[in-house]
Symmetry: C2
Subunit: 327 residues, 2 copies
């Protein structure tokens, strides 16, 4: 920086002003400084800048389940949007959801140079691990319906489950079975509750819930049970992967989809249009989530504004795995 200043024959402060794009520098001076920077190959040192300003222009994303389609979409959407806002993104991947592993990652986080955190994890994990974020650190939680001290942003999953269930009822099914996600998942709970309430509101009987762990395997074994029950005409799986397992089970059991049984998923993973048959599902807007998340974080970091929780609408995607029940 000193070299640049000397070469352009200005003070260090003027170089600093140019490098930060401040306006109160005469055009000719600015050009001289910029030329000097290029000649020397000057790059501002982020560490020094951060030390002085107290800001790192960096946000952390803590993701518990990088294997799931949703969290990946979230992470990339946040990374893209953060780049637009001039922030970088530090990815803190959890080895597992064991309380100790969560606690360890949070300890590491405290030493990270971040101005804010996006939490991509089930909120109860935080409590189980007995950890908390460093006080005063802005954060948002990407998870719906939790009582969190931080702003919460999520897809409107309840709306998704409602739309899905209603779609099946509208097709003429007497009721809809639900293959829920694991009990400790908040998302699973919300989807299940919305499913139940939609049935109740329509006066349809509420059958017992089946439960899987998001994996195709768990969908497969639940699917075998469902296939064996002649009363079942429609199934809503809590995610696409489990729906895939159900499709496989139905085929093996000789039950036609959607002729004998309608199957719906949830998430709209890119593959779902190519399942057998192409899956009717619920599409979530991850890029909008990412944008909402980053703007909430930046608002709090830069202007101290707290955002109120927000739910991003979802959309029904009707393909070929659902149809009217056989008369």
């Amino acid at each position: 920086m000193l070299d640049v200043a000397r070469l352009a024959d200005v003070s260090l402060q003027t170089v600093s002003r140019v490098s930060r794009g401040r306006t109160n520098v005469e055009a000719s001076t600015r050009d001289r400084v910029l030329a000097a920077m290029r000649e020397i190959g000057y790059r501002p040192n982020r560490a020094a800048r951060a030390l002085k300003s107290g800001r790192f222009r960096n946000i952390a994303v803590i993701a518990s389940v990088m294997s799931s389609y949703g969290s990946i979409q979230w992470v990339s959407a946040i990374a893209l949007e953060a780049a637009r806002a001039g922030y970088s993104v530090t990815l803190v991947a959890l080895e597992s959801t064991e309380p100790q592993a969560v606690a360890r990652s949070f300890d590491a986080l405290a030493e990270h140079a971040v101005d804010g955190v996006a939490l991509l994890l089930e909120h109860h994990m935080l409590e189980e691990a007995g950890v908390s974020l460093p006080p005063g650190l802005p954060a948002v939680v990407l998870d719906s319906g939790v009582a969190s001290p931080y702003p919460v942003i999520d897809n409107d999953q309840a709306m998704g489950a409602r739309l899905a269930t209603q779609h099946l009822l509208d097709l003429g099914h007497r009721t809809v079975r639900h293959l829920a996600g694991p009990e400790d998942s908040r998302a699973a709970e919300i989807r299940e509750t919305a499913w139940r309430e939609t049935l109740e509101a329509a006066g349809a009987p509420v059958p017992p819930t089946d439960r899987g762990d998001w994996s195709p395997e768990s969908g497969y074994s639940a699917g075998l049970r469902l296939a064996a029950d002649p009363d079942v005409t429609a199934v809503l799986a809590a995610n696409d992967q489990m729906a895939l397992g159900i499709l496989r089970a139905m085929r093996e059991a000789g039950r036609d989809v959607p002729g004998d049984i309608s199957v719906m998923g949830f998430d709209d993973v890119p593959e779902s249009a190519n399942y057998q048959p192409p899956l009717t599902t619920v599409h979530q807007s991850f890029d909008r989530i990412g944008a909402a998340c980053v703007s909430a974080l930046v608002a709090e970091i830069e202007r101290g504004e707290r955002t109120s929780p927000s739910l991003v609408p979802v959309e029904l995607v009707i393909r070929s795995s659902t149809g009217p029940p056989r008369a």
Copy 2:
């Protein structure tokens, strides 16, 4: 830090030593300092530490295609392994693979506080964008077979394609069709070359290559063409998603898999065990890649050692989509 020093009645330097885990501190002093840190809630300031040491303990991962299964696995494997080595990971997501977008991301990178970079992109993109990394910045490329100035790490994809092709030949197929990935993909090229060479080595005829873009849709349309050709008895798709599309096409064309036609994938995505039928494919070890990548980077950052390129072995996963040709 000053408060901690006062509370523990030691010098700043001793606090610094304790906080970095240096050994030359007496046990009793260390305990006093640690207690004081806890009481005050002291957290070392990364920016100051980085400013002083010239190291950020942070590596960047530049990923071009966060949507593909492989890159996601790579990113999380690297993040996990980096955490173990005491590094954090900054994710630089590319908006697109347009040269301008790539160039923009690289400009941003230059201002990032990173000690090293892992490049998760096709090498030719760098050249097209006309960008280069800041000189002297350690980097590794996760991409095989490129002539790169940086160490290259990858799964042994040639081995995978060889194993897959040989598996089909061993089952008794006269030859094997190949649905390759896009032409601009190095991975696609390697897989295709290995497939061709395996056929040639076995004295099998080399049929024309079909080409897709990694998507299930492209697999589907290629699958329809393949299904119409009665000579085809075995197909190797360059990834699982395209294989999924082929499976769908075969089913719609009334061709049994593996009875009429054997289909193989490549990647072993978690869903592939639940495709219809469960897919025979090639499994890649992403965690080993992540570990190799981080250790290569750390070796260069901390000790200036250049690692030689390394290929991580892959494994054949035989499920139910392949079998002997109908006699």
